[in-house]
């Protein structure tokens, strides 16, 4: 994979995703997109705007509300020669398609020995007034499934580069977008060959005193926290795994071993989550170096309330990351 792009453009995350889809569909006619409202309406949040006009109704297709069939469309089409991208509107709705994801898509190669190019795009998190059934963060569950890759970009550029890589990947990839980031702007490299490697973490900021592993919406907040603490002379390293499975444990472990302190920051609730796995890696592989207990900065273990101010008060902000880092610095 190469990152030969030079020119960049400031784009919102949804635009980065849209660009990735356009470029890959232009490049390879086997790429198709199916989902609820992805076609004529251009997606409930506008992410797939203009695609159906450009690529026609057969390649960009509005489906009924049939989540099992949606993923099944991807599995079947991927098995006979297309490279489907399936959109599940909200991550919560993936619960309906779980058998198709876990028992069918993820096991296809194990049973058949052959590739299943399939991207399942979905959107997580409490970034809108949608409430307890439209805001959940269950990314950890899919990371526990052999045969599945899980990607979770934290900004527009990564979303573009990783989605393009996911579409070119020969394995099923669950691509988790974050509602709270869709309109966040970033410089996005242009050019069809801007690809980012799946399975490689990105160190967003180098630092020596503490390692913060942050995902999704918490990456920017972690960077903000790092900036705040820098003013006190605290040097924070921020790692964005970008791919949650297979996880780039080496990068994470090397950083923790060096700083001796770990904070994991995520929008999901803490118990049995992504953060649990990272903390476990720290304990298993960096115990002698650990100067303090790892800290999970996460949403409280309660449902997501509907009113936006409440939902936002539930998700950890930059202040919560700052507090988490302070705890990691004090601890043990």
């Amino acid at each position: 994979m190469s990152t030969t792009a030079t020119e960049t453009k400031p784009l919102k995350m949804w635009q980065g995703i849209n660009q990735a889809l356009v470029e890959e569909m232009e490049r390879d006619e086997r790429v198709v997109l199916v989902g609820e409202d992805v076609g004529r309406p251009g997606g409930p949040y506008g992410v797939t705007r203009g695609l159906q006009e450009r690529f026609g109704e057969l390649r960009v297709r509005d489906t009924p509300i049939s989540e099992q069939v949606l993923v099944g469309l991807g599995v079947g089409a991927g098995a006979v020669g297309l490279r489907p991208v399936v959109e599940l509107m909200f991550f919560d709705f993936a619960l309906i398609a779980m058998d198709q994801i876990v028992n069918q898509a993820a096991k296809f190669r194990y049973f058949s020995g052959e590739s299943l190019p399939l991207v399942i795009r979905t959107m997580c998190g409490a970034g809108g007034p949608n409430g307890a059934q439209h805001s959940q963060n269950f990314e950890a569950w899919y990371c526990a499934v052999p045969g599945l890759k899980v990607v979770m970009p934290s900004n527009a550029a990564d979303a573009k580069g990783l989605l393009k890589a996911a579409i070119r990947d020969d394995d099923p990839v669950l691509f988790i977008e974050t509602l709270g980031l869709l309109t966040a702007r970033r410089e996005v490299p242009q050019g069809e060959e801007f690809l980012l490697p799946i399975g490689v973490a990105e160190t967003r900021r180098a630092g020596d005193d503490v390692t913060v592993v942050a995902i999704g919406r918490l990456v920017d907040r972690a960077l903000e926290a790092a900036e705040t603490l820098a003013q006190e002379g605290i040097s924070v390293e921020v790692i964005d795994p970008r791919t949650l499975a297979p996880l780039d444990a080496e990068t994470i472990v090397a950083s923790i071993a060096r700083t001796g302190r770990l904070v994991v920051a995520q929008e999901a609730t803490a118990p049995f989550s992504f953060a649990s796995e990272v903390c476990t890696l720290a304990a298993e592989r960096c115990l002698p170096q650990l100067k303090a207990p790892p800290v999970r900065v996460a949403s409280p273990f309660v449902n997501v309330p509907t009113p936006v101010p409440l939902a936002e008060s539930r998700a950890p902000g930059a202040d919560a990351v700052v507090a988490g880092i302070r705890r990691a610095l004090e601890g043990a």
Binding site: E36, D37, G39, R40, P41, P44, D62, T63, P64, I65, S66, E67, Q68, D92, F93, I96, P129, N130, G131, A132, Q133, H134, P300, V302, N303, P305, T306, P307, V308, P309, L310, S313, R314
Partner: protein, 325 residues
């Protein structure tokens, strides 16, 4: 919890008369208009799927229900809630994110559940009420009650697996269950022909249960079809599938300008306002009095909601498990 005066008790019997039905349709309409306004003023901190234009379906289908009967509703469910006996004030408070709301203002429009009046839930997941409806109906059957369950769903929900599973088992077990498909022609941002193959009302026959299509803008037609289905269900005759053809006047959600629709189409449906027909069954003076009553109820409900405390973070952690209640 302090409650305002509600002029007419709903629930058992309140919808048995044409006046009662008209009154509730009017209440539902005015409720929606009011929360729509509130939404425009930034006072509704959650999503809003308005049922304006569809009042006859909820009221007609609930007309013969008792408090002990159950209803499963959808993301577009304020009219169902009111028709099953929800109080306008607490429902309004819920939508406005107030502590006095049915779910303490945390749930909002899609997460209203009032088991005490048999309203087992609006729902954010399309189709998800249907399996739950089979459970309520099964319990009624197993307990030898002559209660029934009514499951509302949009035509979009016929695409879900839950729908097929539910119809099959309801037919198989002869459950006291009435499926009411509120076909309002659109499924989010696409027309129903993107979603529905064939004809919905005919999905009954291959399962050996009756299927009927009715004018969903005619409250009496809906009531009649529902009455037949409910009587059948109470008598052990099993489920019925009713497709009520209607229209949503507004977009999918408050804020959706529904540019995907032809304005003439909208106009033609608005011209068939279900409230106008229902009002015609009454004499004008009676109707005017009911309208005035409704205005007061809505004004009181809004005042109640507005003077209730805004739900704060303190409400977040409760009611997940019994001990945390």
């Amino acid at each position: 919890m302090p409650e305002v005066h509600v002029p007419v008790a709903r629930g058992d019997g309140a919808l048995r008369t044409a006046a009662g039905r008209y009154r509730l349709m009017r209440l539902s309409r005015r409720f929606e208009e009011t929360v729509h306004d509130q939404h425009g003023e930034g006072q509704v901190p959650g999503p809003l799927h308005l049922s304006i234009g569809q009042e006859a379906v909820a009221v007609g289908a609930c007309a013969e229900l008792r408090r002990s009967d159950a209803v499963l509703s959808t993301h577009r469910g304020h009219h169902h809630c009111l028709a099953k006996g929800a109080r306008a004030d607490r429902l309004m408070a819920e939508l406005l994110g107030r502590e006095s709301g049915y779910s303490r203002g945390r749930g909002g429009s899609m997460h209203v559940a009032i088991p005490s009046i048999g309203l087992l839930g609006t729902n954010g997941i399309v189709g998800a009420g249907l399996p739950i409806a089979t459970g309520a109906a099964y319990a009624m059957q197993a307990q030898d009650r002559d209660d029934v369950t009514v499951a509302f769903f949009g035509e979009g929900a016929t695409g879900t697996g839950a729908f097929g599973e539910a119809v099959n088992i309801a037919a198989l077990w002869a459950l006291p269950l009435v499926f009411v498909c509120e076909n309002n022609q659109y499924v989010e941002l696409t027309p129903q022909d993107v979603h529905v193959a064939g004809e919905i009302w005919r999905r009954g026959e291959s399962h050996g249960i009756p299927g009927v299509r009715v004018d969903g803008n005619d409250v009496e037609a809906v009531r009649e079809a529902a009455a037949t289905a409910i009587a059948r269900a109470r008598g052990g005759g099993g489920p019925t599938l009713i497709e009520a053809v209607t229209y949503r006047w507004f977009g999918h959600y408050a804020g959706d300008r529904a540019a995907y629709r032809d304005s003439r189409e909208v106009d033609s449906w608005r011209a068939r306002d279900p409230l106008v027909a229902a009002r015609a069954a009454l004499d004008d003076a009676e109707a005017d009095a009911l309208d005035a009553e409704v205005e007061r109820e809505i004004a009181d409900a809004l005042a109640f909601a507005q003077r209730s405390a805004v739900t704060g973070p303190g409400a977040l952690a409760i009611d997940h498990l019994k001990e945390t209640a």
